[in-house]
Amino acid sequence: MAYPNSPVNIFGARLTRREMVRAGGVLIVGFGIFGTACSNRGNSTARNSLDATLPGSWIEIRPDNTILIRTGKSDFGQGSTYTAYRQIVAEELNASIEQITTVVAGDTDLTPDGSGAFDFLGSGMPNIRKAAAYTYQALLDLAERRLGVPKDQLSASDGVVSGGGKSMMYGDLLKGQQVKLTIPVSGNLTSLMGLAITGDPPLKPVRQYKIIGKSYQNSITASKVAAKEQWITDVRLPGMLHARMVHPKTIGSTLLSAGQVDKNRFPTAQLVVKGNLVGVVATTEWEAIRAAQQVAGDTRWSEWKGLPGHTNLFTHLRKEADWQSTPISKSDKNKGDVAPVLAGASKKLAASYELPFMKHAPIGPTIAVADVRPGGAVYVYTHNQSPQALRGQLAQMLGSSIDQIVIRSFPGAGHYGRSNGGNAGAEDEAVLLSKAVGKPVRVQWMRPEDFQWSTQSPAAYSDVEIALDVKGKIVAYQADHYMPAMQDDRPIGAVLAGLPTMSAPDAPSSGNGIQDPWLYDTVPALLERGHGTMQIGQKASPIAVGLRDHSMRTPGQFQQNFPRELAISEAAALAGADAIQFRIDHTKDARVIGVLKAVREAAGWEPRPSHTKQSARGSTPLRGRGVSAMLRSATYWAGICEIAVVPETGAITVEKYTIAVDPGIIVNPFQLKRQVEGGAVMGVSHALLEEARFNESGITSSDWFSYPILKMADVPEIKVVLINRPEVGTYGGGSEAANALAAPAIAAALHDATGKIAHRLPLRPEYVQALLRT
């Protein structure tokens, strides 16, 4: 029986046969704006140009029984789109993973849902899972009609549906017809979160999982290793010119006069100036580099000094920054009245914690190729975490419609959050240069520019007070977190050129919410507050640039978890308690207790109070250990760092780092382990080394010597304990959090080793050496 012409309701989705076809046949899964979202017609939700009748659906099942999946989330090195997403779709569809032969990610004209390359597993409910669940129900419906067997007697395995003594491959169900499943979505395509699939299709019971939980390889790894992958750095278009930018002398400089290209030395080079945006294009890359250097030497900028300098950063933040204009945010876990408890505490801890600016620091600087066509169509090739949002930003800059703009995504150097709101740095500049010269243009920043003109993870400080009762239990916890606005998604080229952009993140600022979920639920009185202010220097800069901040791996939560977890370790020491048992004694959450016990066992941690009185002198290494814990993206974490510190030099070596992680259902154990190891290494790097330094005019960290990151010789022995909890029913993410766990554990370990508390990061030797002499 062929499929009826009238639409069929599939748990709120619509299944329609579009046409009979002679050969082939396909099921296309697209979306429609249903329900309340209909009232949004006219805003960008309805304006998205992706028609589900075009090849832009989440899932396509083809007559040869192969399956193609598409997602707006571009891969950023964690590989989730090529591992977890294939596993999730295969599982929900009762197909084999080998059937999923193609993954399309991040191209705005080819993928359906937008949103950024973060939180891939969507706390257990990513779009792709729901899309697959709806699709499976539609396939059962099709099978019921084709096989004449009632749906409730049908089941499927490896892409073959069977029941009542009959069976048929998915591909054969579709032969001779083109069927479209339209599923309900809400949201805004070009926003940070993109479109979300709504409704509640039946999901496959976890106990029936066959594919989730296995360590499939990342399907893009082989092509990268074999030098077969096309990277963003490899994109070449016919007639393409190479470009280098001449960025202003300071982050508050305006252009006085642009230098001229020396045509004798650089015959093909061409200068482009628009406002304060200066770029040089040439036919070869080396000519563009040298011509840009020559032009830079001849270009004059106004002087500007409007920053406090990194040595005065926290004095500035405490005494000069305006924290009043931004509404204070409060944790939804706040309870009790902390003030009288703190006032009458038997023992009390009061401490302040300081975190520096840090850079996303991709190994390769930002790069993009833009092709602005005469009719106004714009094609941008880039490595970007949020291509749909970038599309919106470029449309705003150009005063055009997003329908004119296509973003294509390619692998590139991971930059851990920098572009999750839309731009990585070079895209808008490439567009402006391409528009100016009428040819495709490839813009690549040089290494110093990538440090000095990109955004950074915001500096922050926190004031924490903890009251202990006579038994050494926490009876009140108070934390005030202070952090400048975080999500500056303005494309810098548009800002410099004086073209339209979104607003700078003004007060009330973004990102000052309580980002670090409270874990210690038996503490009777809790007060956590988040304070925000404008970005440093933004108001004083004539071009409103300032120290632009952006979310970076574990954003905001890093800044709040370091003070909390270090303060909890200090409180444990004050109570004379073991730091892990102390944490366990302050929570009823079985998953918090579970990760703490697991990490304790894996590290061979013998319970004892932290050492507090040691002689921290001499050249003999002292050893210590520390612990930290976190809940992020539905995943529970605990980490133990074991360190050696040489008092004479202040040099810390992290010798062993043990991490326990409970994400609920583990989708892919080996990939998760690799992600956690990578995060752990980055975390040690953050803790020991990373600080973006700046003077009165801009960022002075400009290369890998002035912004060092961890080297292989300094990698600890890393042990990862994965805790699979199928009963939780969802899968949490694993690519964040590990980078934040290290710092409070290392600082607690330093305390354990020396009796001294480091209240700021990074723990570079000169700081630790000075600390140990106090």
């Binding site: 080396w286 190994i363 390769g364 290494r447 010789a713």
Partner: protein
Amino acid sequence: MPTITVNGARRDVQTPPDTPLLYVLRNDLEISSPQFGCGMAQCGSCSVLLDGKEIRSCITPLSAIGDKEVTTLEGLPARWAKQQRAPASVTALHPIQEAWIVEQTPLCGFCQSGMMIKATELLEQVASPTVADIKAAFTTSGPSAHLCRCGSYTAIIEAVQRAAKLMGKGR
């Protein structure tokens, strides 16, 4: 017209002699595995072998190559086949590449071409390196440490150890 030998083939290049080898490889010869990371020999993303020794192509001018042979990631399978006196195969990879895949070493992977080049240099000199040997090779043996932002160092160490075993079997 200067001619250089890259991955076993003589290649003519019409590029000014001061051009860094990186741009010659990527833009003129379409050999794209070495990546631009810093342009200052600080990170190792652009590493290639020059007569078996790792160099940084971002600071090495074309004029410095002379008669020496350049090997990039693309050339590793043929290099291994030649060392084994085996016929070059279009599908076979160098054991280092095989190990990199089995160990699922890359995260973003941008630095990994340089990492595999460094691994090749090491394993051609030291058949069974210790972890300390591996750490030293990737940290202090070259113009700078090889940097990975994603923190894949642990996976690299495991991949080098696996590659050493695979190469041992090959010999």
